[in-house]
C-alpha cells in the first residue's frame, strides 16, 4: 500500500484572510482577484497604488453615448505623451496604453474606435503620471473610459452600475462632454442629459461627508467640452457664449451649482462622411486634425489641489 503525501498549503489561506480594498469602491477583495467583486473595477489599480506607494487622483470623462469620450481620451493621452513641454503624460502599466493604442490605430486608418461596451470589466482604465510646469511632483491620475449608456443608466436607476457612483464620488475633476453635432442638428437631448449629469453630481456631493467637521466638501472642478466642434466653428471663438445660446439650461445650472467650471470647444476630425458597412450606415472620418483637445485638461490640472 503506497503512501500519499499532501502538501500543507494552509499558508495560502492566510492570504485570503487579508482583504485587499478596491481602489475605486474600497470593497474588500481576495489578493488574487482580477476585478473587484463589488464594482468590477480592475484590482490592478489597487495593487499598483500599493506597490508605488502613491494614491492616484481621479478624473472622470463623462457624457452621453456617442459624445466622443473614447476619441477624446485616446487623443488626449496620445497628444500629451508626445508633448515634452508644459504638460507631459506617461502611462503607468501596460493596460493604460490600450485606450491610446486602440484609438490611434483606428483614427489613422480613418475609422472611429469601436463603441465602449457597457460592461465595467471591459472598460479601459488609464493610470498615468502627469508632469506639469510649475509643479515639482508629478500627479498620478486614473482616467477611465466609461460607457455613456452606463452613465445614463446609473443616473436614471441608481445602483445599476455601482462603479460609476463610487468613481464619481472620488473624482477631483470632471470633463463633461457635450455633442455639438447633435446640438447643431437641433436636438435638445444633449442639454437635458448634461443637466441630469450635473444634478447627479451635485446630489452625490451633498450626500458625501465633509473631510473635516465644519468645512464644506469642495465640488470637483468641471470642464465642459463641446466635442465635434468642427460642426460649429463659432463655438471655438467663445465657448461660454455658445453654451449660453445653445444649452441655456446647462449654462444656468453650471452657473448656480458649480463654483469651478469652464467651457471649452474641441474636435478631432476635420470632416467626415458615411459609408455602408454590413448594411449599416457608418461614419467615416476623412482626416484627423485635433483642435482644442489639451486646454480642458490643462485647466483641470491647474484646479487640482497641490497637496495630494
Amino acid at each position: 500500500m503506497s503512501k500519499v503525501t499532501l502538501a500543507l498549503d494552509s499558508y495560502q489561506l492566510a492570504q485570503y484572510a487579508v482583504q485587499v480594498p478596491c481602489y475605486i469602491c474600497e470593497g474588500g477583495n481576495n489578493h488574487d482577484a482580477e476585478l473587484c467583486r463589488y464594482c468590477q473595477a480592475p484590482m490592478a489599480l489597487a495593487h499598483q497604488a500599493r506597490a508605488q506607494k502613491v494614491l492616484p487622483q481621479m478624473i472622470a470623462t463623462i457624457g452621453t453615448a456617442d459624445a466622443g469620450k473614447t476619441v477624446y481620451l485616446g487623443m488626449l493621452t496620445d497628444m500629451l505623451s508626445r508633448q515634452a513641454k508644459n504638460l507631459h503624460l506617461t502611462a503607468r502599466g501596460a493596460f493604460s496604453v490600450s485606450l491610446q493604442q486602440h484609438t490611434i490605430a483606428s483614427l489613422s486608418r480613418c475609422r472611429f474606435p469601436s463603441k465602449t461596451p457597457n460592461e465595467p470589466d471591459r472598460w479601459n482604465w488609464v493610470h498615468c503620471q502627469v508632469r506639469m510646469d510649475g509643479r515639482r511632483q508629478p500627479v498620478e491620475l486614473i482616467m477611465p473610459d466609461l460607457a455613456g449608456e452606463a452613465i445614463l443608466e446609473e443616473i436614471d436607476h441608481p445602483g445599476t452600475y455601482p462603479v460609476i457612483k463610487a468613481f464619481l464620488n472620488r473624482c477631483v475633476g470632471l470633463m463633461l462632454l457635450v455633442d455639438t453635432a447633435r446640438l447643431e442638428e437641433g436636438e435638445d437631448d444633449q442639454d437635458f442629459f448634461t443637466m441630469k449629469i450635473v444634478t447627479y453630481l451635485t446630489e452625490l456631493h451633498r450626500q458625501q461627508a465633509a473631510p473635516k467637521k465644519g468645512k464644506k466638501n469642495p465640488l470637483p472642478a468641471v470642464s465642459i467640452v463641446f466635442t465635434k466642434a468642427d460642426h460649429c466653428d463659432e463655438s471655438f471663438d467663445d465657448p461660454a457664449a455658445y453654451a449660453r445660446r445653445r444649452t441655456p439650461g446647462l449654462f444656468q445650472l453650471c452657473k448656480e451649482q458649480l463654483p469651478r467650471h469652464e467651457f471649452f470647444a474641441a474636435c478631432v476630425v476635420g470632416t467626415y462622411t458615411y459609408c455602408w458597412e454590413l448594411e449599416t450606415k457608418v461614419q467615416v472620418p476623412l482626416r484627423i486634425e485635433p483642435r482644442g483637445i489639451i486646454p480642458p485638461f490643462a485647466w483641470l490640472m491647474k484646479q487640482l489641489p497641490r497637496s495630494s
Binding site: 515634452a84 483614427l107 489613422s108 480613418c110 470632416t271 459609408c275
Partner: protein
C-alpha cells in the same frame, strides 16, 4: 447701399435737400408741375445713388457697390520664388516690378505680371498681339512662379476602407497631360490683388450655380474676402502665408482671374509623387515629394507647439523633384476633382457632394494622412482655417515662347525633345 465717403454722402444729401426745397417753393408759389418735376428729379437721383434695386440699376456685372480700396497693384505682395520672405514683406520692387516705361501695352503687361496674371498674356489669343520682348518677359515670369509637370502616367490610390494595414493597394493608372503648377500655394498677398480688383463682384469669374452664395463670402467685418480677414485685408505680417478661409468656389474664381485653373487629383499627385515610368511596369513613385520616408523638418505638420500657417517658403528641402514647394503640410489644397472620383467601388454616402483636398495641413496629426496619395474631402462651400489652394494651367493652353514651335521647324526637329518642354525627356 453704401456710401463711398462721408463727403460723398454730404454732397448728395445737400443736392436732394435743395431739390426738395425747390419743389416745396414751386408748390408754394403755385407751380405744381415744376414742384412735381423737382421731386421726380430728386427721387431719380436718390435711386441712382443708393441703388436699392441691386443689379437692376447701375452697372450690371457687379453684385454690390462697395468702397474701392487702394489697389494693391502699386505694392504687390505676391510670393516670389526667388526672393526671401523679408524682402517680400517690405514690398521692395523686384526687377519685373519696376514702373514700366514706354507704350501703354508695356504698362499693361507689367501690371498683368505684377498681379500674377502672366498666363493670360501667354494665351494664344493675346500672345498674338504682343511683341516678342513682352512675351519673353511673361514667359520668364511664368517659369519663375510655375513649374512644369511632365505628361505621363500616375498611380492613383483609391480609398479602400476594407484594406488592412500593410496590404498592397489596388492602384489605378491615369494618364496626365503636361501642365504647369504653381511653385507655391496662393498667398494672402496674391489673393488680395484679386479682392482689390473687385474679383468678388465680377460675375464672369464665378460658377453660375454659386451666384446666390457669393454675397456670403465675406470676411470678419462683412467685406468681400477670405473668412479670416478683417476690413478686406489679411492680418499684418501674413502676406506670404497661404490664403485660407476660402471655399472651393473662391479658389476657382481666383484661378480664373489669373487665367489658370485648379489642378485635378491625378495632376496634383503626379506633381508630388513624380512617377518614373518603366517599360511594361507600373510607374515608381514617391510617398512624399522628397522621398519615401517622412521628414517632419520638410513639412509643416502637427506638432505640440504649432499653432497656424507659416510662410509658403518656410520649409526648405520639402520641394518636389520638379521644384514645387509645400505640397505636403501648411495647408490642404483644393483640387478640381470630386472626392473619391477614382474609387469605383466606393460605398460612400455623402450628405452633400465633396471636393477633393490633398497634402495635409499644419494640424494634420498622422504622417500617413500627409502623403502624396492620401485624399480627403470637403464641402466646396466650406471656408476652413487650414484649406488653401494653388493653380495650374495646361501646357497646351499657353503660347510657347523660347522654344521652336513644331509647325515652324523642319520634319527632323518635330520630334525633338526640345520642341515640347513638358516631355519627360526634355526635363531629364
Amino acid at each position: 447701399m453704401r456710401m463711398t465717403s462721408f463727403g460723398d454722402f454730404l454732397a448728395f444729401s445737400m443736392l436732394a435737400t435743395s431739390l426738395a426745397f425747390s419743389a416745396y417753393s414751386a408748390w408754394w408759389i403755385g407751380q405744381p408741375t415744376v414742384a412735381a418735376l423737382a421731386l421726380l428729379a430728386g427721387a431719380i437721383l436718390l435711386i441712382w445713388r443708393f441703388n436699392p434695386l441691386g443689379n437692376s440699376v447701375g452697372d450690371l456685372p457687379r453684385w454690390r457697390r462697395r468702397p474701392r480700396r487702394q489697389s494693391s497693384l502699386s505694392k504687390p505682395a505676391c510670393s516670389r520664388a526667388s526672393r526671401p520672405s523679408n524682402e517680400r514683406d517690405s514690398g521692395s520692387p523686384a526687377s519685373d516690378e519696376q514702373p514700366a516705361a514706354g507704350s501703354p501695352s508695356d504698362r499693361l503687361v507689367a501690371e498683368m505680371i505684377r498681379n500674377g496674371r502672366e498666363v493670360l498674356l501667354l494665351r494664344p489669343q493675346i500672345a498674338a498681339n504682343l511683341d516678342p520682348r513682352q512675351l519673353e518677359r511673361a514667359q520668364a515670369r511664368l517659369d519663375e512662379v510655375m513649374a512644369i509637370v511632365p505628361q505621363g502616367p500616375v498611380l492613383l490610390q483609391p480609398w479602400d476602407l476594407d484594406r488592412e494595414a500593410g496590404e498592397a493597394p489596388s492602384d489605378e493608372v491615369i494618364e496626365v497631360e503636361g501642365y504647369y503648377l504653381d511653385r507655391f500655394p496662393v498667398t494672402n498677398g496674391q489673393f488680395k490683388a484679386f479682392v482689390d480688383a473687385d474679383g468678388y463682384e465680377q460675375m464672369s469669374f464665378w460658377d453660375e450655380e454659386i451666384w446666390p452664395a457669393v454675397l456670403e463670402f465675406v470676411d470678419q467685418t462683412g467685406h468681400p474676402g477670405p473668412r479670416f480677414w478683417r476690413d478686406g485685408s489679411y492680418a499684418s505680417g501674413t502676406a506670404d502665408h497661404p490664403v485660407v478661409g476660402v471655399s472651393w468656389y473662391e479658389a476657382s474664381a481666383y484661378a480664373r482671374w489669373v487665367g489658370k485653373r485648379l489642378p485635378t487629383d491625378p495632376e496634383w499627385v503626379k506633381a508630388g509623387a513624380w512617377p518614373v515610368s518603366r517599360d511594361g511596369a507600373s510607374p515608381v513613385q514617391r510617398r512624399f515629394p522628397w522621398g519615401d520616408s517622412m521628414d517632419r523638418s520638410k513639412a509643416h505638420l502637427w506638432a505640440p507647439d504649432v499653432a497656424g500657417t507659416v510662410p509658403v517658403d518656410a520649409t526648405p528641402g520639402g520641394q518636389s523633384v520638379g521644384g514645387i514647394h509645400q505640397l505636403i503640410g501648411n495647408v490642404w489644397e483644393w483640387t478640381a476633382s470630386p472626392f473619391a472620383a477614382w474609387d469605383h467601388e466606393a460605398r460612400f454616402l455623402h450628405e452633400k457632394p465633396l471636393k477633393s483636398v490633398r497634402g495635409g495641413a499644419f494640424d494634420t496629426y498622422f504622417d500617413c494622412q500627409a502623403s502624396c496619395q492620401f485624399q480627403s474631402g470637403e464641402d466646396p462651400l466650406a471656408r476652413k482655417h487650414n484649406i488653401g489652394f494653388r493653380c495650374a494651367v495646361g501646357v497646351c493652353d499657353v503660347e510657347p515662347v523660347g522654344w521652336d514651335r513644331p509647325e515652324e521647324t523642319d520634319a527632323s526637329h518635330t520630334d525633338s525633345p526640345r520642341t515640347n518642354p513638358a516631355s519627360e525627356s526634355a526635363l531629364s
